[in-house]
Symmetry: C2
Subunit: 382 residues, 2 copies
């Protein structure tokens, strides 16, 4: 890798232009190689654009997950959401991938709403009522993704805590302050709730005695490093993970979309007018004037609208290739590429929000009444 | 105070000969003055030997508790037990005092079994199953004390956690690592569970919007210092406390009775033979030979059997005075004073254990079915 600017990735901040190669080395994760992708796609029975396009780019023990699958031992999926505000496109995409994994591998999915964590984060200034409200709102969006209601358990830490607490204590007893300081950068001024919280996020990997696979953005990986150091002492598997990149913010290729910077993100409940306005203001790789653009062409590698099409919104590789060509050559203008993205995003959100309307009943299955949820409420993790 | 040896008092250790005057100064608590005692006894409507004899010797805001009582605002009582093993006489005495307070002031009592804390204490090496078992056994002893089943709530943190968790989080958010390090001596190697735990112990002081009075040994006071610094920011009262001394260990006047040093303590389920053996081996203020004892007399101020009679077991002040006189003058031998104590202790434990036999039903009222317990299970503390 050449010289790079400074960047920072923790579970609570993503700053700067992320060098994903360096992150893999720093975190000690493995690249998703072409061979492993092939095996994965073969076992899944179909391809997924987030794999094909390298958006999921890194992993831990994905090969072992596939071994377990082939050997009939199976595995389970775990992902989560910090209910600190309305969800954005960047938040929901990994859930669509997780649903695809559930469908292809027929496995249980556990979705943790970390209401405790979001309350404890001091910079957010949220009340208990706020995180409860966002837990409900976010859970509806997650239910709208279409998970199998009998194989999915959505829970809030504040509600499910009694069932998890013995295992949470076992984890907490194995982890001391120096360790969380080294992994998360905690210091003397960190509140004691935040210091304890990692035990909650780790606990879910012990919901079954099978291997856990976590599809999530790479900023969550520090938790899994601790998990992997202690799991076997409890007779559980080290968790596996498959890591994705961050959907670039509309404001430019650095950092990640943030619900607290409204201009950087598109919310799931945003109307077409506002979507159009934000996309038309997005960071562009085009030239300042039409004349220059026709002559020099646009740069798709920094153009956020193009990046979004690449990341998720243009599923057809051939169409994407043509857009890239047209844009680079100057035949396609920035306004035109933005128009394509507006159409894709509004189409996606229209379908999402229609399903969200009907998701209340499904959500109550995933939280309380479905097969897996009932089983989870009747047991204690320890 | 004159020169004193080193001593150490924390919620987890009591070492050396405790200088209670110095402890009051270090902790910043107030002495229980004769005037305050008089007012307390007048409002209680009767005297109690633990007050009269100065076993409860220090307090925080007891005067305000009495103001609240007189003004009709009332108050509630909170005490607890770390379920790490069988209970000793030293553990149960404050519960008898708490029951007396409940009877005299007709108030609610909350009794926290800190199963989480005892699991997390690494030196104890207890499993989740161990602390569950001891929670049940200890709760039976506590129920045997005779609390009012409709005004008493006995709970284990691991069971009641869901109802407490929002308030626990609010507390945890206000307390950082430097603070618990300064108050409890935590360091880099302290596990993250122990670091978080103080929020649980503090939470109970917020179970009602009235003033809380905590009758407990003074080693628990550090928690209340933190509570008093944050309570008003939540719109709650600073907790009040009334502090007792430690029943001296049989092995000598230093430290406190410890269930983990069997010779230092008498367990509630111990048989007469074993009680007799331990008391006869106890640290004595008598002289090495009968002749010398008759000539020089015994020293009741270091004699553990005499101290136990003074602490709790000889209720009659006049009888106690005579024992002191006889023993000091040499007319009463060490064996005789020990015989008196054996009789008192076995009589006390016989009554206690008879009540324990019948306490199962009462315990289930205090835990789940009684008026206060039902109310507590139906609400969330926040």
């Amino acid at each position: 890798m050449g010289q790079q600017g400074e960047f920072k990735v923790t579970p609570w901040t993503v700053e700067g232009l992320v060098d994903y190669e360096k992150l893999m080395r720093d975190f000690g994760t493995e690249p998703l190689t072409p061979q492993l992708k092939d095996r994965f796609v073969r076992l899944a029975g179909e391809d997924h654009l987030l794999i094909r396009r390298g958006i999921f780019f890194s992993h831990r023990d994905l090969d072992r997950v596939l071994d377990d699958y082939e050997a009939g031992r199976g595995f389970f999926l775990y992902t989560g959401r910090g209910p600190s505000g309305p969800m954005t496109l960047g938040h929901i995409i990994p859930f669509y991938f997780t649903k695809w994994l559930q469908d292809r591998f027929r496995c249980n999915v556990y979705i943790e709403l970390t209401d405790d964590e979001k309350f404890l984060e001091e910079s957010r200034n949220l009340t208990i009522e706020d995180v409860r409200k966002w837990s409900f709102e976010n859970a509806l969006d997650i239910a709208a993704v279409g998970f199998n209601p009998d194989r999915t358990f959505i829970f809030q830490d504040m509600e499910y805590v009694r069932n998890m607490y013995p295992m949470v204590l076992k984890i907490a007893k194995k982890v001391n302050f120096s360790w969380v300081r080294a992994v998360f950068g905690f210091d003397m001024s960190t509140n004691i709730g935040m210091i304890f919280y990692p035990a909650f996020q780790i606990c879910v990997t012990f919901f079954e005695k099978r291997r856990c696979l976590i599809p999530a953005a790479i900023d969550q990986d520090p938790y899994w490093r601790i998990q992997r150091d202690i799991a076997e002492s409890f007779g559980y598997y080290k968790t596996a993970a498959i890591h994705c990149k961050f959907l670039p913010p509309l404001t430019g290729p650095s950092g990640k979309m943030s619900a607290s910077q409204p201009e950087s993100a598109i919310y799931l409940n945003e109307d077409e007018k506002s979507i159009r306005r934000k996309i038309f203001q997005a960071f562009s790789g085009g030239q300042p004037t039409v004349e220059e653009h026709r002559r020099l062409g646009g740069n798709p590698d920094v153009d956020v609208p193009y990046q979004w099409l690449h990341f998720f919104f243009e599923e057809d590789d051939e169409k994407l290739r043509r857009i890239r060509e047209e844009y680079s050559s100057g035949r396609m203008l920035s306004g035109e590429i933005k128009e394509i993205l507006v159409e894709k995003v509004t189409g996606f959100l229209e379908k999402h929000n229609t399903r969200r309307e009907d998701a209340r009943e499904k959500l109550s299955l995933m939280k309380y009444e479905g097969r897996l949820a009932k089983e989870m409420w009747s047991k204690t993790i320890e």
